[in-house]
Each structure stands twice: as C-alpha cells, then as structure tokens.
Amino acid sequence: MLHNKEFPARREILPQALTEITAEIKKYFTDDKWINRLKVAAEEILVNIVDYSGSEKFYVSCDFLEDEQTLRFEFVDEGELYNPLEEVPEVDIDEELDERQIGGLGIFLYETIMDKLEYHCDDGKNHLLAYKKLV
C-alpha cells in the first residue's frame, strides 16, 4: 500500500516510484491497456514535479474508494505553488508532423486518461489528485 510515501524528487528515482505505483494499479486493474495508461499518466505527473516544481521530494498515496470503485492517486510536492490544471494546452491530435509541438502532450495525456483531476494547495504544498474508476 502506498500512503504518503516519500521519494527524493530526482529523475533517477522515478523508475522505482513507478514500479511501486504500477504494483498498486495491478491490484485493481487487470487489463494491460489500462495498467499501461495509468502508468503513463503517473509518469507524466511525476516528471512535471521533478523537472519543474523545484521540490526536493514528493509524496505518493494510492487508495481504492470502495463505494465509487475508483482508484485515487495523490501526488504531493513542496515546490513552487502551481496548479497544472489551470492552463491545459490544447493539443490537436490530427496535426501533421510539421505543426506538432514537442511540449504539451503530458497534461493532455493524463487529462485524457484519468476520469477526474483535482488540485489544491495545503500547508504550502501542491496536492494533485487523480481518479480512475475501474473499467
């Protein structure tokens, strides 16, 4: 079980964090497609924290909401206060290669994959919650 587990906010730590998150996902999701999608979403959220928040560590919780049959992730960092859901860049998936921008894909991906995302700041920390109902 992952409950507010602390990790140093460094790129080389991410594979270990993702292994632990994926183990939690696999307790509830059996479809490889959804296991993979949720891992992609978690990786993107963590990459943003590590690369841009300025936080020295991050915390991950993962719990299952029985009533809603929903897996809930919480990602917390102590970096600059920033709501990633405020400015979600538009991504046109039909754009041709020349027009495609390198950035902006990450938030698009986790917005597409997750059912619901919530941000709040508490005690000077960024909290991002991501929900996915069992499929």
């Binding site: 790129r11 999608r37 992609v40 998936i93 290669l97």
Partner: protein, 110 residues
C-alpha cells in the same frame, strides 16, 4: 533500451528493445538520430514494452529530424499497449505506424 541495426542496404531497419520512458528517452532519441542516413528507414518496435510521454517526445524529435533531412521513416510492429498510446495522441497516423514489417516495406516501396 537496446538499439540495433538489423539491416542496412537500400533500406535501414533499426530494432528497439526495452522501454522508452523518462529514464531512456533522451539516449534512445540520440542513438536513433545518429543512425539515420539518407535512406528509407523502418523502426521495428515489437520489443518495445512501454512508451511514456517522454518516449512520445523522443519519437516526435526523431520524426522531425528525419523529415528535415529528407529521410522517410516508418514505425512497425508496435505492441497493443504502445499502439494504444500512439492512437490516443494521434501519433499512429502522424508517424506512419503500421502493423507489420510487410506493411512497412510496402510503404517504403519494396
């Protein structure tokens, strides 16, 4: 991530083995870009088990570099989980991803 040249005559075939994620995407991109020559290229993906958004950025960089050098690149044999992410982002069409090596060779005129 292992990057191997499987064939290099009139067509180059580059085979990938591993994950393209935050830990490997920069090196994978650099390795593939270094291997690009002025000839049609197939990037073989059946052993790529995971592509994250960092991986997608790497694939996009490779495609843009190849195009700027006039090199036609086709991606082939991606596994269903990878195809799913490529489809979600429109990359499947934009990068000319095809199901089989036969399709890729046909796409490149062989």
């Amino acid at each position: 991530m292992t990057v191997t040249v499987e064939r290099n005559d009139n067509i180059k075939i580059i085979a990938l083995d591993g994950q393209i994620d935050v830990a490997t995407s920069d090196q994978t991109c650099a390795d593939i870009v270094k291997l690009l020559e002025k000839k049609p290229t197939i990037i073989k993906m059946p052993k790529v088990t995971y592509v994250s958004s960092s991986g997608l950025r790497a694939l996009l960089m490779i495609a843009k570099t190849a195009k700027s050098q006039g090199i036609k690149v086709t991606y082939a044999e991606a596994v269903p989980e990878v195809v799913d992410v490529l489809q979600m982002t429109g990359f499947i069409k934009m990068l000319h991803c095809v199901p089989t090596m036969a399709d890729a060779l046909k796409e490149l005129g062989e």
